[in-house]
């Protein structure tokens, strides 16, 4: 990695090892970078990302296409393409109470964890489910890969999970194929599959983006109910601040492969500190119905920077309307505390927390 532009002070990271105390942390991502190609200088898709998902919480990563939000989740699942180079560390608090460093594990060990202690659901269930296997085959496989169970027990578990995600006649559904189901039902099946081994972490990558708004509401409600019942943590990835506002406990905002803001959901949405987050919120068409007033759209000008040649200094400065010449384009600020637990990477935040 180039310069040390990490958000966390270096001292905080020094003691981190496999035995490090994660406190409430379930997953702790520390200084994670993913680069493509072997050419120098490398192109970083994500650069020095640090974030923690706590037990039982919903952490949302918000960002636009190319911000690196999916790559971060794929790195946790070990699903990145082999031509990408990964640095940094990811600590995971296992079911048995031990903390492991994922980079230290063998590919086989990581495969055993993925789908068992951590599971993932994707945006487009039609392309994520196997069209030539029945729903039942796929659900049963998800369990038998990780558990030494009988076929009958696995089928019973599959029926239980389908019922849990709100699919009627689960026993008959086991023998159906993906194309026989609607989009919302497919997403439910994918969630059921992810839950087969009772994961401690569920990663949901844009799980409702391909769905209609009424079906989206169903799936969001389902995820919230499942979390309340099963107590798993959810890492929710989305471009949609409205969706995120309904489900997240905490929010991390990504821009161009960097964390630009993080904090409790309400604070980030109600009192955003980074000009990018503010811009995203102002980009939503919004009408105050009570007052009958139309808020004029305030789009963010320009477009996402090229990852191969990111702008110097703050990555957002070419599009920022608060840019300070000679400061923002020189050096990227660290994540500064704007309030307890609420931090943003912007020079306009002074250390006292008033911006």
């Amino acid at each position: 990695m180039g310069s040390n532009i990490s958000g966390k002070p270096a001292a905080e990271k020094a003691g981190a090892g496999p035995d490090a105390d994660l406190n409430n942390g379930l997953v702790d991502i520390r200084n994670l970078s993913v680069a493509i190609g072997s050419r120098f200088p490398a192109t970083y898709i994500i650069n020095d990302i640090s974030l923690t998902v706590n037990e039982g919480e919903t952490l949302a990563i918000v960002g636009e296409s190319g911000s690196g939000k999916s790559v971060t989740s794929l790195a946790v699942m070990d699903l990145l393409a082999p031509n990408l180079s990964v640095s940094g560390e990811i600590l995971f608090n296992r079911r048995d109470g031990s903390t492991v460093r994922l980079e230290d594990m063998t590919p086989t060990q990581r495969r055993q964890m993925a789908g068992d202690e951590m599971a993932m659901i994707f945006q487009e269930p039609m392309t994520s489910l196997n069209p030539v296997l029945t729903i039942g085959d796929q659900l049963v496989e998800a369990l038998l890969l990780h558990r030494d169970e009988s076929m009958a027990a696995a089928r019973a578990r599959a029926i239980e999970m389908l019922a849990l995600v709100g699919i009627s006649n689960p026993t008959e559904r086991l023998d159906t194929y993906v194309h026989e189901l609607s989009g919302g039902m497919r997403q439910r099946v994918m969630i059921a599959m992810a839950l087969m081994c009772s994961p401690r972490l569920l990663i949901a990558d844009e799980p409702t983006t391909a769905l209609d708004v009424t079906i989206q509401a169903q799936i969001l409600e389902l995820l919230q109910r499942l979390q309340a019942e099963l107590g798993m943590a959810i890492l929710f990835i989305s471009h949609d601040l409205d969706v995120v506002s309904d489900i997240a406990d905490r929010i991390v905002v990504f821009y161009s492969g960097r964390v630009v803001e993080e904090g409790p959901a309400r604070q980030v949405l109600k009192d955003p500190k980074h000009p990018y987050t503010i811009g995203l919120l102002n980009s939503k068409p919004h009408i105050d119905r009570a007052a009958g007033q139309k808020h004029t759209l305030q789009p963010i000008s320009g477009s996402m920077p090229n990852l191969a040649a990111p702008p110097a200094g703050c990555r957002f400065h070419p599009r920022c309307n608060l840019v300070v010449e000679g400061l923002c384009d020189k050096e990227e600020p660290g994540l500064r505390a704007a309030a307890p637990e609420h931090r943003a990477r912007c020079v306009h935040i002074n250390p006292e927390g008033n911006s």
Partner: protein, 332 residues
């Protein structure tokens, strides 16, 4: 009241596709009118027929029944050769700009093609000048003239798509999900562009979208489609403040982001999926998912009843339910 006919009138428009196992009733008996300078929003979920309405109005697909009148002239059954000069007056912006721009043509050629077809601009130089003028109109510099679509970002491509639609100075612009394929920050740019162009060129717009906030923001009037039928239509401000159809009410309550809007809403989560448009339920197509459905809903035909000034709903219980009066009602 108004002497001149509306710019666009659609009456009992139907489009049924023959498919295996019957007829897919994409659009049934849809009627609406758009006055000059007005913005009409069409909302609905996938399969509601909103795109088919847009395409049929331009006769990009042929209607099975009903009438379409542009400035009072029926265009539903005229021949393609007679239709061609009328096409100048109505143009379309598509959802996915990477699929709707020819990858082999440079941006300039894309913009000059409609000019050539409609015989606008005497010479090549004239057309080039017009193309550059169009680029400037949508916020792109003349540098883009020689670029290929793949060299542009999604937002820039959509700007080219809009410039192409504006090339022959249409009176009516139909935009089918114009921002759905774009990132949030780019969506706002394109919406602001459309809004500005509408004022500048006094365009009449039909905006088709699944996104209620986009439609609410852009439209003067809105029609809500479900399974190819109009559920409700009325002025945007009235309808969003006080929906009079259970489906509109559910759609509005399903919009995420109540937290952001500072309003505590009770959410209505509709159970199940929309039924198949091949065998829609009898009577009201929404009754199978409606929390207020009664027996009569299965028997009654679909009829729009007036519930306010130019505000109509297809719900037979509209008067007794009086939705939207005090927030979401408990089911009786």
């Amino acid at each position: 009241m108004i002497m001149a006919p509306p710019l666009l009138e659609v009456e009992n428009l139907s489009k049924w596709f023959p498919v295996e196992g019957g007829l897919l009733k994409a659009v049934t008996d849809v009627s609406f009118a758009v006055k000059k300078g007005e913005v009409l929003g069409i909302v609905g979920e996938s399969g509601s027929g909103k795109s088919t309405v847009g395409q049929t109005v331009l006769r990009l697909t042929e209607p099975n029944g009903g009438d379409i009148r542009l400035n009072g002239t029926s265009i539903a059954e005229i021949s393609q050769s007679k239709l061609r000069p009328m096409r100048r007056k109505m143009q379309m912006v598509f959802q996915d700009p990477s699929a709707s721009l020819n990858p082999h043509l440079r941006v300039g050629q894309v913009l000059m093609e409609p000019l050539k077809i409609h015989g606008i601009g005497k010479s090549r130089e004239g057309r080039e000048a017009r193309a550059i003028q169009l680029l400037n109109l949508v916020g792109l510099s003349a540098d883009y003239f020689d670029r290929f679509p793949h060299e542009l970002s999604g937002g820039q491509r959509q700007r080219v798509g809009i410039a192409r639609a504006l090339a022959c100075e249409p009176e009516l612009l139909i935009a089918d999900e114009p921002v759905s394929a774009l990132d949030v920050s780019i969506q706002a740019q394109v919406l602001a562009l459309i809004e500005g162009l509408k004022k500048e060129l006094s365009l009449t717009l039909v905006i088709i979208s699944h996104d209620m906030s986009v439609v609410e923001y852009m439209s003067d009037r809105v029609i809500v489609l479900y399974l190819g039928r109009v559920m409700e239509c009325g002025p945007a401000a009235t309808m969003f403040a006080k929906p009079r159809h259970p489906y509109t009410e559910a759609l509005l309550s399903a919009i995420p982001g109540g937290e952001l809007e500072n309003e505590k809403r009770q959410r209505i989560v509709l159970s199940g999926d929309p039924p198949s448009p091949i065998s829609p339920p009898s009577g009201c197509p929404f009754r199978t998912r409606c929390r207020y459905a009664v027996e009569a809903c299965a028997g009654a035909g679909m009829q729009l009843v007036s519930v306010g000034e130019s505000h109509q709903t297809a719900c037979i219980r509209a008067a007794e339910l009086n939705l939207g009066e005090e927030g979401v009602k408990e089911v009786v």
